[in-house]
Symmetry: C2
Subunit: 406 residues, 2 copies
């Protein structure tokens, strides 16, 4: 698979105090690469997580939801090549075996060990391969973030990472995030897995609040094809090794800066997933303003972002604002046809429910030829706003998902 034309280089990512990533080869698939990632976390690490809303979620997600409530983590294990979803009790036994083996190795509780899996569905994760893979990874050297990002990937065409820093009082804290998704190839499942590691000291409940808020504006504002994986997971780990005064609320010094840095990392990671969407040739930002509420704006943006007719129009570099009107109207959100305006790259094509008499398509045509396309939608009925990101829908998507039989 060729690297996405929208790929960005992996950033210069420093190690994070209290976080030790290692990779090994469990051989979940017959591929000549590492596929097991093990991240050891310092004692006292806080954790927060957001998970797929798909009802048919994997065991890993079910357990993860319970574990984040406890707020403490000592390790993360990511299996690539097998999602272990829809595998019943055998899949659950495999995850519990991994948690037990790591807990014994680190001398912690099994509930301190977070497990994610991504890849083929309906095949129980092979316990023997997981066991041997863990034995190998326990003695592997510390790896770089780029190696870890590559190892959690499956059909990703490039490795994805993001970095930010924040000052908490006089203490500089570092945040590093890695993510995989959402290149998919039959019979794999689309899965987005994202992990953010920081040396900041943050109370688990507050970390959860910040991660949930950041996800709403970032991971929940991207879409490739509107399909929701059974395994989607984002976890944030805070080791506290930076020894800042612990953050427990927005009243604490530096909380705003940390929240902004976390949001920044999540936004970068979310956009990187879109940049690796199957068959993507264009990165599309959809800015919605004037909606009834922010949530309404987000739903309208996602309706546009998920419209096959809008996505194919952008692929064809066609300023087909009628399709945007259609997608706004079908979103099921408050809208008034006669106050609706649609633009591309800063040029209005239609205002207040009618095509502009002096609409000049030339700058729009130039804008649409680029790799980065922006669609502006003003509802004209309120102050709600949101920005969502997606990619175009191309022959490449069909080829990846239909042409190659499993």
């Amino acid at each position: 698979m060729d690297t996405s034309p929208l790929a960005l280089p992996f950033p210069s990512a420093p190690m994070v105090a209290g976080v030790t990533p290692r990779v090994a080869r469990a051989g979940y698939k017959d591929w000549g690469r590492c596929d097991l990632t093990f991240v050891e976390l310092a004692e006292g690490t806080s954790v927060a997580g957001v998970f797929t809303r798909n009802v048919c979620c994997s065991t890993e997600v079910e357990l993860g939801r319970e574990q984040v409530v406890l707020g403490r983590a000592r390790a993360l294990v990511v299996n690539a090549g097998n999602s272990n979803a829809f595998t019943g009790y055998r899949g659950r036994e495999a995850v519990e075996a991994i948690m037990g083996q790591v807990a014994a190795h680190l001398g912690c509780e099994p509930s301190d060990v977070f497990v994610s899996s991504t890849g083929v569905i309906g095949v129980p994760l092979p316990k023997d391969k997981a066991r041997a893979g863990l034995d190998a990874v326990f003695v592997a050297p510390e790896c770089s973030w780029e190696e870890a990002a590559a190892t959690i990937g499956t059909t990703d065409t490039f490795s994805k990472g993001a970095v930010a820093t924040a000052m908490i009082g006089d203490t500089k804290v570092t945040l590093v995030g890695i993510v995989k998704g959402s290149g998919m190839i039959a019979p794999d499942m689309a899965t987005m897995l994202g992990y953010v590691f920081t040396d900041a000291a943050v109370d688990p409940a507050f970390l959860q609040r910040l991660l949930s808020a950041a996800s709403d504006d970032t991971f929940n504002c991207i879409t490739v094809d509107g399909d929701t994986s059974t395994s989607d997971t984002v976890l944030a780990f805070a080791t506290g090794n930076a020894r800042n005064a612990p953050l427990a609320s927005f009243d604490d010094l530096g909380a705003d800066a940390f929240a902004a840095a976390l949001h920044d990392v999540c936004r970068q990671l979310a956009q990187l997933v879109v940049r690796d969407g199957e068959g993507a040739q264009k990165f599309i930002e959809i800015a919605v303003t004037g909606a009834k509420s922010d949530e309404s704006a987000r739903r309208i943006g996602l309706a546009v972002a998920n419209s096959p007719l809008v996505k194919t129009a952008i692929a064809g570099e066609d300023a087909n604002w009628g399709r945007v009107v259609m997608a706004v109207g079908k979103a099921g959100e408050p809208a008034d046809r006669d106050t609706l305006s649609i633009g591309f790259g800063g040029t209005w094509a239609a205002r207040d429910g009618q095509p502009l008499a002096d609409y000049d398509e030339a700058p729009v045509a130039t804008h649409l030829k680029g790799r980065e396309v922006r669609i502006e939608i003003d509802l004209g009925i309120g102050d709600g706003r949101a920005t969502v990101w997606t990619c175009d829908l191309t022959h490449g998507y069909i080829s990846i998902n239909a042409d190659y039989r499993s």
Copy 2:
């Protein structure tokens, strides 16, 4: 555009007493074919209608919603080549001019004249072309249903009609339906327009009740790409010329038979739209059973039918039941992973949340090679059931909607 490989021949459709279709060329587009359909209806004709839920609907839809409440119709005008949607007051004036001209011609109220338009968006319907077209169609000879079906079409690859009869007491009544949709080509909008004509005598309120119920199980159970047109309209006209004892409730003799015939015509028309889906190579029926309710089953069926990953898998003749599991789980409806079963063409691939140990993919592979594919989904949590219809997602869809610039 080649005829869809899923096309069916136009049925042998008799004329309906009290219904006179005529066609003419208004020249809405530069094409050498008729594009204006005028159907005159006997005095006393009842009417019922269902319309798009798209908030950005056309003037035609806005007016039509008001007109059906009155329950009476004398004429139907369908303009092909211009949807007149998103055209502000100029578009509204054009529709009102058509209603006025027909009302003067027939000596009826403007509100007795129903107008639909389909085609390009954002261009006000040219009033002069409509006026000249009506003048021509008023003196045109009566045409066949097949000619009328061809004339309401835009990018349809074949003409679509359906016929049914019912006995009301000793009186045989006839129902004929025509429909257009949903081949789309930039910059046209997807629009589904459907019309059912019968000589039965039916009270308007009862006709509305029957049409709404039939639409829920038919027109509202099809999807090509999940996009909702700004102009979708289905109208039923009952002239009463068969002189049966008028139907006003299910207590009336023959009401059940008429309802069944109306449902049958709507189902046939709905399926014909799917058979002309852009790029469709396979007709897909999705049967959902064991859901919490019928409505929940319908939503789950549509979530599967709208999943690009499921549709591309079928295009690739890939029995990828994991993608069906994913789509069920994302529907936002009650479901239990551990009681969920998925099958293709009568063969279970997964039962009760796990792949079947003795799953034989051979009959499934054979089934998927055909033009007609059936996906079975059993939720195992209730008695709700629904059947929805869609087509596969192919390179043809991308080519139609992206490759050709407007």
